[in-house]
Symmetry: C2
Subunit: 415 residues, 2 copies
C-alpha cells in the first residue's frame, strides 16, 4: 500500500508551525509497511484543497488529510472531502455526545458551532478523538481509502495509534509489536557499524536505530499473528544485539536516562545529593523534573566559584592549590562532602570546563564526575566531551546518570 499525506492549514504556509504530523505519520506508516510518496501542505482554501485531494487520490491507495476539522469558518476539510466523494455530512450521535461531555467536564458552555464538529461524512467510520473534540473519519471511496484526522498532534497521535493503525493492519491479518532498547555512550554510526550485518539481514523483526539528544535507541519491530511468537522473536534478536553492544544498554521503552535513574534510586531506597560546578544545578533540576523526587532528594549545592567550593563544600585549600578546581581530587571532595552535608546516601559531583574559554589550562569539555557512597572510596570518571557550552553541560549530566545507573546495578548485585 502507498500513501500521501495532505496537511491543511494556512498557519503552516505562514511558517507559524511546522508540519510535524507528516513526520509522525510517515514514521508510523513506514513501520507497518505503508510507503509514503508525497506530503502536501495547502492553506484553508477550498479550491486548492480539492485539487490536491484529486491529484493524491489518483496516485495513492491511501490519502490522509490532517487539520481543518475545527469549528470555525476557516475549517473546511470535511466539507471539501464530502464534495470530493459525492456524499453529504450527517450528525454522528456518539461524536456529539463526546463533544457535549467534553464541555460538561470542563464546566464550559458549548457554542453552537461546536455542534458542527459532530458532523461526519455519510458512510464513514468515525475515529474517536480521545484527547479532543473533532472526530476523525475513515472511508473507502472508489479511488482510494480516505482518512481525516485533526491537526493538533496531541489529538492526532492517540487517534492514529488507537483508531487508525488497527484499521490499517486489519486487512493484512497481522499485528505489530515493537520493543525499544536504549543505549548511551555509543554513537549512532558506531552502533550501526557494530550491528551492520544484523541490520542488513533484518526481515522480521526489523531493527531501526534512532539517535536523539545524545542517546541512541534501537526499535525492534515484529509483524506477527501470535503474540507469544512475537516475544520469542524479539527476545532472540535482542540477545544477538546485547551480545555486541550490551555494555551501553541502560533500559527499555520511552524512559530516558534521568527518569531511569529516579526509578532505580527509588527502587533501591537510596537518597542522592549533588555538588555542581560548571553544571550549576542542571543535574538537580533535571532530577526533580519527575514527580515524587522528594523520596530520593533533599538538596544540592551549585558551587560555581572556588570560594563556594572551599567555604560551603569544604574542599580543602591544598587540593585547589595543588590540583586546581577542575581535577579528580576536587571531584572526590565535592562528591563526598556534599553527601555528608546533605545527609544523603549517594553524592555526585561535577567539575569541568564548559567553555568557550579554557580554564586552568584545561580545554573546554574536560570534565570530572565524582560518585561517593557506593563504596568506601569515592570514584571519579574523567571524560573529554565535545560540543558547545550547553552541549558539554548536558552531556556531562547524561554521563553522570549512566555512571550512576552502572554503580547502582553493581551495588544491587552485592546486596
Amino acid at each position: 500500500m502507498n500513501a500521501e499525506i495532505i496537511a491543511v492549514g494556512s498557519e503552516l504556509l505562514l511558517g507559524q508551525i511546522t508540519n510535524t504530523n507528516a513526520q509522525y505519520l510517515s514514521k508510523q506508516l513506514a513501520e507497518i509497511g505503508v510507503d509514503v510518496y508525497v506530503h502536501t501542505v495547502v492553506g484553508d482554501n477550498e479550491k486548492r484543497l480539492a485539487e490536491s485531494l484529486e491529484l493524491a487520490s489518483e496516485r495513492a491507495d491511501l490519502v490522509i488529510l490532517t487539520g481543518g476539522l475545527g469549528p470555525t469558518k476557516d475549517d473546511l476539510t470535511k466539507q471539501t472531502a464530502a464534495i470530493f466523494c459525492g456524499r453529504t455530512l450527517v450528525h454522528d450521535e456518539a461524536a456529539l455526545e463526546s463533544i457535549t461531555s467534553y464541555f460538561e467536564k470542563r464546566n464550559r458552555p458549548m457554542s453552537p458551532n461546536n455542534r458542527k464538529q459532530a458532523l461526519v461524512i455519510e458512510g464513514s467510520t468515525v475515529l474517536t478523538n480521545h484527547t479532543g473534540m473533532a472526530p476523525g473519519m475513515y472511508l473507502e471511496t472508489e479511488k482510494c481509502k480516505l482518512v481525516l484526522m485533526p491537526g493538533p498532534p496531541r489529538e492526532l497521535q492517540p487517534m492514529f495509534e488507537m483508531e487508525l493503525k488497527p484499521k490499517l493492519l486489519d486487512g493484512s491479518g497481522t499485528a505489530i509489536t515493537s520493543r525499544v532498547l536504549r543505549y548511551f555512550g555509543i554513537g549512532e554510526s558506531q552502533l550501526e557499524t557494530d550491528l551492520e550485518d544484523l541490520i542488513d539481514a533484518q526481515t522480521n523483526p526489523t531493527i531501526a536505530p534512532l539517535a536523539s539528544h545524545g542517546e541512541v535507541k534501537l526499535r525492534l519491530t515484529v509483524k506477527h499473528t501470535d503474540a507469544n511468537e512475537a516475544e520469542r522473536l524479539l527476545d532472540e534478536t535482542e540477545r544477538l544485539i546485547q551480545d555486541r553492544v550490551g555494555e551501553h544498554f541502560y533500559g527499555y521503552g520511552e524512559i530516558g536516562l534521568m527518569e531511569q535513574l529516579v526509578i532505580q534510586l527509588k527502587k533501591a531506597g537510596l537518597t542522592i545529593s549533588a555538588a555542581e560546578s560548571f553544571t550549576a544545578g542542571l543535574f538537580t533540576s533535571g532530577l526533580t523534573a519527575f514527580k515524587g523526587t522528594s523520596a530520593i532528594f533533599n538538596g544540592g549545592i551549585s558551587a560555581y566559584s572556588a570560594e563556594v567550593k572551599e567555604n560551603l563544600l569544604q574542599v580543602s585549600k591544598e587540593t585547589i592549590k595543588q590540583s586546581g578546581v577542575v581535577s579528580e581530587a576536587c571531584a572526590v571532595e565535592m562528591a563526598s562532602n556534599v553527601r555528608k552535608i546533605m545527609s544523603a546516601d549517594i553524592g555526585v559531583s561535577f567539575t569541568g570546563v564548559a567553555g568557550p574559554d579554557a580554564q586552568e589550562g584545561k580545554d573546554p569539555g574536560t570534565v570530572f564526575i565524582g560518585i561517593a557512597g557506593f563504596d568506601q572510596q569515592t570514584v571519579v570518571f574523567p571524560i573529554q566531551l565535545s560540543g558547545n557550552r550547553q552541549a558539554i553541560r548536558e552531556r556531562a549530566v547524561k554521563y553522570s546518570c549512566f555512571y550512576l545507573l552502572n554503580e547502582l546495578k553493581r551495588w544491587n548485585a552485592t546486596q
Copy 2:
C-alpha cells in the same frame, strides 16, 4: 508574488526528519510579502520530482526546491531541474574553488563526486553556500522563477538571508527592516486584544505577534527605500504600542529573559545567588548557560526538603512551623539568607508547589519568589501558575527574571 516550496528527500517521507525548511522559508517569505500557497515533499525519485515541479511551475511565480544537492547518487534535484528547463549542467569555477578550499581547510581529501557538487544549471545565478559545499541556484525560466537550495538548515538559512532574499527584494526596489519587541507576563491573545485596532490598521510597519515559551514577541516590519525613514516609522509605531503594553516590555531582538538578566547584572556590576526549593537548580543552571557568568554568580543552594532549608539555609524552625515552607515568610528568609551565605549582592528564592499533588494544603502552581538586596527589605512576589509540573517550574524561573529585571531598572534609576 506567490510561491511554492518543494522539499526533496526520502528521509522526509520516512519521517526521519521534519521539514523545518518549509516553515523557515514560509515565515521569511511572508515577511517580504511573498504568499506561499503549497508545500510539497517528494522522495529522491526523478519522476515524482519532475511531476511536482511541472505542477508547481504552472501555479506559482516562484518555485523553491530544497534538498537533493549532495554528492551521492540519490541526489538528483539539479539534474531533474535542468531537464525541466531544457538546460545542461556546467562546472562553476567559483563553486569548485569554494568546495576545494572547504576540504583544504579541514585537511580532508576531496573525493571525485564532490566535484559533481560544483555543477550548476547553465545560465543560473549561483547562490553562494557560506556554511557548506553545495551551491544554490537562481534562474528565471519561461514559466517561473526557480530556486535550488541545499537541504541542511544550517546551509539553507544563511543562503536565504544573504543570497536569495536580496535578490527577491531587488525587483521591488525596497528593503525590509524589522524590530522585535519582547514582552512577558501578558498572553498572546491579551496582547492582540490590547493592540487590536493597531494590528488591524497596520500597513507599514506591519505588526506580527508571536508567542514562544511563555513569552510574546511583536515583530514590526517596515518596507522602505530609506533607512532613516524606516527607523522613524518603527519608532512611531513602537511608541503607540508601548503606551498600551509597555509595562510588560523587557527588551529587543533575540535576547530572552534570562540572557537579558545576565547582561543587566553584568552592566550593573552585581552578583546574584539563588535558593531554590521546587525549581531545584533550574534558575542557576539557566543563568550559567551563558558564558562569562562567573562575573555575576558564585553559587546557589537547592533546598528541596524542609531539613535543608533549616540546616543549610538557616530558615527558622518557627517560620516553617507557623507558615509552612510554601509561604511568603519562608521565601523572605531563603532569599536573604542565601545572599549572605554566598556573599552575593542579590539573593533570589523560589518556594512553591510544582505538583501534580498539593502540598501543605496549597494547590500546584502556588509560588513565592523572594528578592533580597535591592532594598533594606526583601520583597516577595506571590504568583499562581497553571500548567503541568515542568511548565510551572519553567514559568516560575521566567517570572523571577522579569521581576529581577524590573527591580534592577528601579535600582538603576536611583543610582
